[in-house]
Symmetry: C2
Subunit: 205 residues, 2 copies
């Protein structure tokens, strides 16, 4: 339905059974095992799809990788938007975002940040995959900067960068060390950061 020929956004078979199976399978496998390490053969096998079907929906493996990261980006975006919407103050939103990150690290099968992992495999700055990574990180930093500015205008950029740095460290270490300890260290750092940054507000106003 709504696939009428006169529809302005016609000729886009966005969701097809096979395409969706392909993408969700790729998302799982790429995240769990890395990108260069898994071939097209394995993805189409586990998605129960033929090679021809794969190349009908994705021009190349690289395109699938980009789409995979877009998928993860949408997930992250959704989770963070929800965390912000559920709280009235910016400080609470920041803590809720930290909670979301902490929950992710504790989840079984956690394998770090999909974007940091991809960056390790795609160092070429001009590569579409790398640019996807940069774009995601810029969005995340901007989101945090806006929230930090609502807590205290002063040095909100530095505070947001500090938040991102703790997050990156926690995400990187989360699958290389006891996740509980990592989350503990992370949450202490974030709470301290938000508190200190909040005190600036009272001092300057």
């Amino acid at each position: 339905m709504t696939r009428g020929t006169t529809d302005t956004r016609a000729s886009e078979p966005r969701t097809s059974e096979a395409r969706q199976r392909l993408l969700s399978t790729a998302t799982q496998i790429f995240y769990a095992d890395g990108i260069h390490a898994v071939g097209v053969d394995r993805i189409i096998a586990e998605a129960k799809v033929t090679r021809a079907t794969f190349y009908r929906h994705f021009p190349s493996k690289d395109d699938l990788v980009v789409t995979y990261l877009q998928e993860v980006h949408q997930m992250d975006r959704g989770a963070i938007t929800a965390a912000i919407a559920a709280h009235s103050t910016a400080a609470d939103s920041l803590l809720a975002i930290a909670d979301t990150i902490a929950a992710g690290i504790k989840r079984p099968g956690f394998r770090g940040c999909a974007f940091l992992n991809a960056a390790a495999e795609f160092p070429d700055v001009n590569h579409p995959v790398h640019q996807q990574i940069i774009a995601h990180r810029q969005w995340f930093l901007d989101t945090l900067t806006t929230l930090m500015a609502q807590v205290a205008e002063d040095s909100s950029d530095a505070a947001a960068r500090h938040f991102v740095m703790l997050r990156d460290g926690a995400m990187a270490a989360g699958c290389l060390f006891d996740p509980d300890l990592v989350v503990d260290t992370f949450m202490r750092g974030i709470e301290g950061l938000v508190r200190i940054h909040g005190q600036r507000e009272q001092a300057t106003q």
Copy 2:
């Protein structure tokens, strides 16, 4: 010389011209372009060595990867040992280590932490490469914990983990964002951490 037959540590041709060329070439290429992305062909070509020579010195590519990480580990170890030896107080040593990390991030061609990058490509915990990563990180954490304990016995574990988290975040972001800003954020965080942790000493003693 000192390669006599009666020498107790004989029969170890540790350093051979070709082997060293092979290892240093692999170190550069693996760090710059990733591990799965580069083949044996390219390494032996750039090292100007034949395939047979490669397999004379390394049983497999995986062994070369492990040796590569051991090489980087020795470099890190050397730099940090030197930083500690050059300062009389533990607090100064910690700041010197941070300086070393900051200098690395600013260096052209910086491509993040070799171990974090390798971890992204070798998720299997039982894989020798992954275990090499774990071992390196444990050594680093232990080193920092010892120094933190010299600054203040109380909660030195948490302080060391905090240091590592900031380092991981800085190393991860250093090649995805303006390195100067990353280093700035990192150094502020470390200075604050060391200061706060140092104040604990006066409070408890």
